[in-house]
Symmetry: C2
Subunit: 369 residues, 2 copies
């Protein structure tokens, strides 16, 4: 089976059969969605030109859209040279099996959908590539949840990628992340329309809870200097947030912006998928069952480049420093310097282009094709 | 009237009459609670030994309790030398008038209680000191919301304090603060027991909403390194947060700790007061109506020492830098170096003692008594 014959820039869905989670729940008939750009060249079990791009929490397999300007002919991930593949994470809602998918009994999985770990998400991707007949790739790259997946790939399947680029993530969840991420999950669970996760056949979804979760999350994705430079204490146009009584309809501009971010997510993402993948991030810990972080990273054999954002409050730069310092085969640590905060792994295109070029060039040394 | 005759270490409540908020609502018959330690000496309109201590969001007038080891005989704020007075903020629930207080009609204020600004809180304190016959003090000090009040005092009533110490706060709310504080307010407002603020006569209060607000707030009060060092990805004893399905009863240790913080606050604080004072912090802006921050600070004539915590994510250190750089009569900027984050203005006793001693000594130069 070659991937050249199908899926060029369009989404494909491949059934990978049953998957049993780390915690021991079996999901029969798992689907994984993916997209491909560029022509696959080389040996699917050796040197080839395939680069796997891993998306973050609420993104999809359409990598050239959320990484616009970085993937395509002549760009940093040059699809004239490389074959780029992006899969939609297990547990998401963009084509891969998740809590909104139908259980074999014909009803949505809902609360029956198991909790996932990042390793489970990677296991599903491994099964996809096995199904595609590909057991080795040129490189794997991701930021945030995508970085967690890329890092897990290198530790769980050290023979898969010739090189890796891990950005804006830590080797495990920090207690602060678990705290703020769990507050987001609680906001959804406390929405009466959540119905313990079984709202898919109901008239109303936990939209308010999901929007609240996103408001909180967005404040961890953006640097406080950047948000302040944009909004400060400015009132939303036509609003008076300094009136006689507190009135949630009279807003500071920043709150109007955050509500807008919440609404935008509600329109495009499923609350159940949000809870599932946020919970997977809570469980992220490459040291779990491997004798701890330091030992797990030290055993890594995949040449891995690490990058972090200097103003990231969600995955602070010291987490990438620690990762780069402990990796068995580190290619070094790159700093994305930006006022934007965590989201700079999506927005700082010029710096990202340089880092991506370094990453694919590093792999070229390891694996000519 | 002398304050020596009463209130030694015990809480007193003084009626200050009517107060009209900046936004134009009149609260008749306002009470302000305060405590005093040490003997007042000197001229109530000139040089004297009175130091005003301003508390933070959910604290009370019992300053030697929340600043244990810093206020008392022989301590940094030496009550053998100084007379220390701490007032409970207007809008709080520890003796001063707030939304839980009774309206003249005999029912709780609830939703009728006006939104306050930090200036309104200061105006009530000014009226208290006027009622006590004191128009000048040795110094005024506070951290966080207490720092916002101390700073506003120096700008609104430049003849009141001979010196000021402003800690762990900014000259105005930042957009990030407004965003995260409003998320906390929303958590309370979305609790069905909030009842638009009129829950005081109901059987149930918005406890869950207040606890959620505190969970979020606590993550902004503590440095992520400190929280991570304490909890990491550890499970709460006897819990399995990595089970087959997400289960909010199976917790990571950090979430158990945050829930505990939420419960503790629910037991001692009123949700209405929390919303009122958080909203006052949203409105904090010393530049408002004064031509902006830089101009307002430049006009300050009170010798003011500024201190900040190097790991504070709620009021990042650059905010205190900006304040110290722009103040008309700055006594300089001190760094509280701590992994604890914002709360270091409460916990780093040795460093705080040094800063407090410098502050009271600075005032002594200005105003001998």
């Amino acid at each position: 089976m070659s991937i050249n014959g199908f899926c060029e820039a369009e989404q494909c869905v491949v059934g990978i059969g049953a998957l049993t989670t780390e915690a021991g729940v079996t999901i029969p008939d798992v689907d994984i969605a993916f997209r491909r750009w560029g022509t696959f060249r080389g040996d699917p079990h050796g040197a080839n030109n395939l680069v796997v791009v891993e998306h973050a929490l609420t993104a999809d397999a359409n990598a050239p859209e959320w990484w616009a300007g970085l993937i395509g002919p002549g760009l940093a991930l040059d699809t004239d040279t490389y074959c780029v593949v992006c899969t939609n994470a297990l547990g998401s809602c963009y084509g891969s099996t998740g809590p909104a998918s139908l259980h074999p009994d014909g009803k949505p999985w809902g609360s029956r959908f198991p909790a996932l770990s990042i390793r489970d998400v990677v296991a599903a991707e491994k099964a996809l590539f096995d199904a595609l007949g590909i057991t080795r790739v040129h490189g794997i790259v991701g930021g945030s949840m995508g970085g967690a997946r890329a890092l897990e790939w290198t530790l769980t399947h050290p023979d898969f990628a010739s090189t890796a680029l891990v950005m804006a993530v830590g080797s495990r969840a920090s207690a602060w992340q678990i705290g703020i991420q769990s507050a987001q999950i609680s906001a959804i669970e406390n929405d009466p329309h959540w119905a313990d996760g079984d709202y898919y056949d109901a008239r109303l979804a936990p939209d308010a809870g999901l929007a609240t979760a996103r408001r909180i999350a967005h404040l961890t994705y953006r640097g406080e200097l950047e948000i302040d430079a944009r909004f400060g204490t400015r009132a939303q146009e036509g609003h008076n947030p300094r009136g006689t009584h507190r009135d949630s309809a009279q807003q500071f501009a920043v709150n109007s912006y955050l509500e807008h971010q919440g609404r935008k997510l509600v329109e495009r993402f499923d609350a159940g998928a949000y809870v599932t993948l946020t919970e997977a991030l809570n469980r992220h810990d490459v040291g779990h069952g491997r004798g701890g972080i330091a030992q797990a990273l030290a055993r890594s054999t995949v040449p891995t480049l690490v990058a972090g954002v200097d103003t990231d409050i969600l995955y602070p730069f010291h987490q990438q420093e620690e990762m780069a310092n402990n990796l068995g085969h580190s290619l070094g640590l790159r700093t994305i310097s930006s006022p934007v905060g965590h989201d700079a792994f999506l927005t700082e295109k010029a710096q990202l282009a340089d880092i991506l070029k370094e990453f694919v060039a590093a792999a070229a040394v390891e694996a000519r094709y």
